[in-house]
Amino acid sequence: MTALDLDQLLHQQHLRLLLCVGTGGVGKTTLSAALALRAAQLGRRVVVVTIDPARRLAQAMGLDGLAHEPTPVPLPDAAGSLDAMMLDVRHAFDQALTAQVPADEADRIRANPFYKALSEAFSGTQEYVAMEKIGELSRQAEATGRWDLIVVDTPPSASALDFLDGPSRLEALAHNPLLRVVLGLPRGPFGFLDAGAALATRALDAILGGRLFGDLRTFLQVFERAVLAFESHAAETRAMLASDRAGFLVVAAPRPGPASEAAALVERLRRDGLPLRAALVNQVTTVAAVSSAALAVAASSADQAQHEVLAHYGRTVARGAAERRDVEPLTRLDVPSVRIGRVPGGLTDLDSLIRLVGRVEQ
């Protein structure tokens, strides 16, 4: 595994978009904030999009109120600037969907049970909205010159791959031939589906009951229009994600599950031709290097108190070794990587965020 210089990466002026991807619980949100802060120190004009930050982190970033629009974070000594915003999925989805209907219809749509389910529970909605927000911010950055780097914390999900798959899942749903039958839209070339679709309609009606089935039709008509509107931007955003103006950082923790997921994600990004910049292994145990000869000398003369410190050191070494074993699925892939030490006591303010980037172990 080759080490990567994070500062050098953040200095690359052609890099306009940095995405932190990985499973839940590995510290994506915190790392996104820390990277954005560091980039601002290095002179970049940054906007960071975070999703559901811890309260103390939000306070540290000045996001204590609900900042759904980019809000400046005061950084007196930075060469650049930092704006931060929280992505409220529900709010953004609401805006996008109800923009497609007349105002008087909007309330009825919001009360529709299918609309509620889709905006709250459907895996794919969050990713879709995040993707839409990325596109919107890059267009704004280009038009106004307010930012030259967008840092994105991706939504928490069961599988890290959801960020890539979610949006197309939502689109597939909108282009679903069955859905078109239910709506009475032209079906395209799949005439043979007709018999099956009739059965399907019958079954749905039987399972859901008439009232819910009626709600469904109403909802789908709006949904289809909204997804078509989304799609007009999606291609542009996808092209940007695949270009060398973008960079993906795969975030992992030194445990078997997250490490394997991160490895799968690295392979997937490579297969899709997306610009993977580095793997960040977060929350690692940092171990001071001491030779075994020196330890043997120390152990032979140590008193009780010194033995306590030496014994703790031994446990730390063992833990570090176990972590290295656990991240092997990732290290095997020969991706530039950065190891970041665990921060004792967690993060409480901007200073500790800066120290986090300082804890990079090459």
């Binding site: 839940g24 811890a54 120390a298 410190v309």
Partner: protein
């Protein structure tokens, strides 16, 4: 286990089919939910029982933890010294098929399932339908497999658990009178059975603790029986000599100060964990079971199972 609990037997005798206990395990993403579900199943199997761990939504964590594929029929997951530890994957598609066959005797159900769009559609978009099908399949397992002594569900993460387990309540309201509405009502009854308990896995850190407190409140709102809160990856507080000793012979002072700083940091973290535990107990009024940060390789699971003995 001795049958000392007089509540559970007579109330259901003759009214409901005998069923095995169901342990639902949830927690914030990344806290080690799947590992704890497996450890709990291992602990339950030690009495010679046949225990099945069920995973929903095809998240694959179970297969990863067990080092092999998990299929749609219960099959051995890990070798055990006594009892059996099996895994099963509960899939929305198979659940829909099972549901259609069980309740409708729909001859065309099989053909229908070849229509992927329908399955996608029905199981993804209809509010709560997918969840009802999945839970329905799980509770079905507790009733229809007399050979299973206990079922452990590796459930969706805590951010989604209340809407997952509460799907029945919402759906029942929307679909009053329709067949799926009846299914929704019966699923909620099953989940409120005293034999079904929900455990929340957490880490003793700010975000997971906050989410656990919210989750417990939401589950209480649904009238579900709570089990215990399992605090994963707990550190044993290291002994810190006072005053800190000087560097022994052979160790440079710079190295020694790094070593003592690491010791102090771990002691701090252990103290911080105690504070978060106290807050958890205070806010949830539930017992917190601490399990250590084990080396994941080798016998780690067995060590975790030892610590779950009281559950």
């Amino acid at each position: 286990m001795p049958a000392t609990d007089s509540r559970s037997t007579p109330a259901y005798a003759g009214r409901m089919p005998a069923r095995c206990p169901l342990h639902i395990v949830t927690g914030k993403g990344g806290v080690g939910k799947t590992t704890i579900a497996l450890a709990l199943a291992l602990r339950l199997s030690r009495t010679g029982a046949r225990v099945v761990v069920a995973e929903v939504e095809g998240r694959g964590g179970l297969a990863l933890a067990a080092g092999g594929p998990v299929g749609s029929k219960p099959a051995q997951l890990l070798p055990t010294r006594s009892g059996r530890l099996e895994g099963v994957q509960i899939d929305a598609k198979a659940s829909l098929s099972g549901y259609l066959q069980r309740y409708y005797r729909l001859g065309f159900a099989a053909d229908l399932l070849q229509l992927d769009p329908l399955v996608d559609f029905a199981t993804r978009i209809a509010p709560g339908l997918r969840d009802i099908l999945l839970i329905g399949q799980v509770t079905h397992l507790t009733k229809t497999h007399p050979g299973i002594d206990a079922l452990v569900l590796d459930a969706p993460p805590s951010g989604r658990i209340a809407s997952f387990l509460g799907a029945g309540a919402g759906l029942a309201e929307l679909t009053d009178g329709s067949p799926i509405g009846e299914q929704a009502v019966s699923v909620m009854d099953d989940l409120r059975d005293p034999g079904c308990r929900t455990h929340v896995v957490t880490l003793l850190e700010e975000l997971p603790v906050t989410e656990t407190i919210e989750t417990v409140a939401a589950l209480r709102e649904l009238d579900l029986t709570l089990g215990t809160v399992v605090a994963n990856r707990c550190l044993a507080a290291p002994t810190v000599p006072d005053p800190l000793p000087p560097a022994p012979a052979g160790i440079a002072s710079e190295q020694w100060s790094a070593m003592t700083a690491a010791l102090l940091a771990d002691a701090d973290q252990a103290n911080g964990q105690n504070a978060w535990e106290a807050l958890l107990v205070h806010r949830t009024a539930l017992a917190v079971t601490r399990v250590p940060d084990t080396d994941s390789a080798g016998h780690g699971l067995s060590v975790l199972a030892d610590h779950l003995e009281g559950l």
